[in-house]
Symmetry: C2
Subunit: 491 residues, 2 copies
Amino acid sequence: MSKKLTKREVDYSKWYNELVVRADLAENSGVRGCMVIKPYGYAIWEKMQAELDKKFKETGHENAYFPLFIPKSYFSKEASHVDGFAKECAVVTHYRLKNSEDGKGVVVDPDAKLEEELIVRPTSETIIWDTYRKWIESYRDLPLLINQWANVVRWEMRTRLFLRTAEFLWQEGHTAHATEQEAINEAELILEIYADFAEKYMAMPVIKGLKTENERFAGAIETYCIEGLMQDGKALQAGTSHFLGQNFAKAFDVKFTSKEGKQEFVWATSWGVSTRLMGALIMTHSDDLGLVLPPNLAPIQVVIVPIYRNDEQLDTISEKVQNIVKELRKRGVSVKFDNRSTHKPGWKFAEYELKGVPLRIAIGPRDLEEGTLEVARRDTLSKETVSQENVVDYVEKTLAEIQESIYKKALDYRESHITKVDTFEEFKEVLNTKGGFILAHWDGTSETEDKIKELTKATIRCIPLEGEIEEGKCVLTGNKSARRVLFAKAY
Amino acid sequence: MSKKLTKREVDYSKWYNELVVRADLAENSGVRGCMVIKPYGYAIWEKMQAELDKKFKETGHENAYFPLFIPKSYFSKEASHVDGFAKECAVVTHYRLKNSEDGKGVVVDPDAKLEEELIVRPTSETIIWDTYRKWIESYRDLPLLINQWANVVRWEMRTRLFLRTAEFLWQEGHTAHATEQEAINEAELILEIYADFAEKYMAMPVIKGLKTENERFAGAIETYCIEGLMQDGKALQAGTSHFLGQNFAKAFDVKFTSKEGKQEFVWATSWGVSTRLMGALIMTHSDDLGLVLPPNLAPIQVVIVPIYRNDEQLDTISEKVQNIVKELRKRGVSVKFDNRSTHKPGWKFAEYELKGVPLRIAIGPRDLEEGTLEVARRDTLSKETVSQENVVDYVEKTLAEIQESIYKKALDYRESHITKVDTFEEFKEVLNTKGGFILAHWDGTSETEDKIKELTKATIRCIPLEGEIEEGKCVLTGNKSARRVLFAKAY
């Protein structure tokens, strides 16, 4: 706790890396690009999972589990899919080790070579659609609404904790439908669930949109996405929902008998969010003192720190606190009473600031006399003296206020960082000074998109689903543009 | 639903394989030895997870997540550990595919060979203890009580759904302690949690014991285990908890500063249960008609099937049922009203029998007139007519009765299948006729254990922790024996 975090304005990237480690969220492991998610970080991820899982189940989805390994040949069946993932695959080629001849360790046993290599799943469309062929015969078997919580591996060259790691945790939904429209509805329903979760739980405002062809998922007809904006003005894709058309059904020969008795290919979606959301959560709200967590996802919502000079005072405080703890828990508030004698109050204050606990209550001998407590808000760093009688109501009300307030703050930031530009000069200037999202006209071609990326590092984050549609001229080529799209530099 | 299951007495193994697939629990995938856990099977696993996770957290454990991959060199650090796992490892050697020269598919890119091969974790002691070295400095950091829910891979040659699969799901606890006694206490605490879960939730009686050296976990000083008995008289190891001593701390150089200021090696435990428990659950209770599930783990505890001739009757029934459903849900009973018009009541009855739903309620026009319902128990197949007014109480009471009753039945079976034998002739005869556990004297040597295994296929399941200790003579060698141990053929 001795050393302060690097300030955001000094080095945002360094601030992030330090914060993730110092707040006990995650750290790099001895395996290149693979992270260890520490208990405090994992507790936040569990809260995310619980909420998303509930929403999926409420909308009729069931969980299942498919193999970690995918035979190499499955990969080749959907052409654009293999192009998208082949370059970053972990490949299992052998199934046994043996003692080395020098007796000093183990080596791969050359006699244990697999006939067909196995790919560690980077995503599961292929193995799942190979399975769906056996599950789907008639329209009665549809829709098939399945989700999987799993680990996946993509061999990224440059990795960063949570944002881009070789192995990450995620959920991947894979659904099968009788009609095109039903599949599109499903992809859109999931997008709404993701957006709602981001805003209500993560307190992170997001823009819903469609990806351009360049940024689409390998194998999708349309990719819907939610895009957040981080405090350094860079965008972060927080979730995607794909309408896959009949691509995977055709690649894996999945047909069904329709009500009319015809054999038709099945329509598909897939969708996912990952531990990347942890990165988004951290970067949306946190400050130079540490994490700022939304109460709806904070593993500890309230911490109570006793201030005392002797055991007798601690006993009196503890007695008072026990009742408050009990009452708060009754209302579903997660509260920790940190009565460790090994650390001083000041140390604890800094620790819980670093860890983003939304409310901190301090109680000392004077408070006992006066029937008060000191309640400090993590987001605003403001303190208030509250009577012990009212503290439970006060905490409940304030937690709701914090949840709303940090959302509002992030939304204000985001709104003030969407800039309409009409010339490429302006485009570059806004990008390099103010940052954030840029609403600009684009002629609709991949070439122009590539050129803009090459010149500025900005990509089209999405074609927004909401907002007015206005014709104009492409910011780069001057060609006709049907509408403005959203550019940004992105994680 | 047309074809009946193979009967247990005809071919127990075939019965099991058919049942797992037909009851929609799991199936084989296109990947050798890897299963697909289907939604109904996964829902049971989720219930197991939820209960175990609660028990772990109540006893101070936190969840975390460690990498899927383990560098090969980590493996060699603990000698007996590598011996135990090297022969069944999936090995990642490359990180990229490329298009094949004939343009017809993808091949492993030889330029993308890893400098050091990565092992897909068969268990995580090595990668976790490599991490603990960074986390543990002083006695203040202890105990460290961590659990992980994860997939692991052991390249088994002969696989069977749930019982032995190349990839399986499990939890693995890894704890670090300041003293030997604390670590032993932890291993024993977890054994109690496992046994309690098996008995109260799975309704499966288990015998708690210690493994002999032959059967011990690779790297452990002591392995505690729970052993269940299946209906074919074979034992099944359902969970293990290992006291690891300082083996891994020494292999990975994990020391702490004690209260007295000395540098000491940390003491360790690890413990796990897996999707193998699904196999144990299925085999303990199910019958020739299908699954029998304990109410405490059944995804659907009560199914209500309407019997009607026209829509009007269905409407009247539905109205009645809605109230019952609401009342049952209020009491935490999971209930499904199957009003599908695509299937006949008889078909549904057989379907829910196959899937082991503990209680089935049928309601028809006559019941409406008389204010009754027909409630059928899956375990005893008995039916009772119950008044609609009392049905909620009746269901609640009966679910509790079923839970107790199937436990009792399994316990009776187990008790009647523990046989004390004093000669090797008797040993072989009991094993080949009656089966089950055999309590026999053993001289305490690995050689004798091996010899008995070679001659009979029976192994020492455990040295029981409970029961009287009586000296005698080894059933094979006649040498002195300090106590009887528990033999059986095992899964």
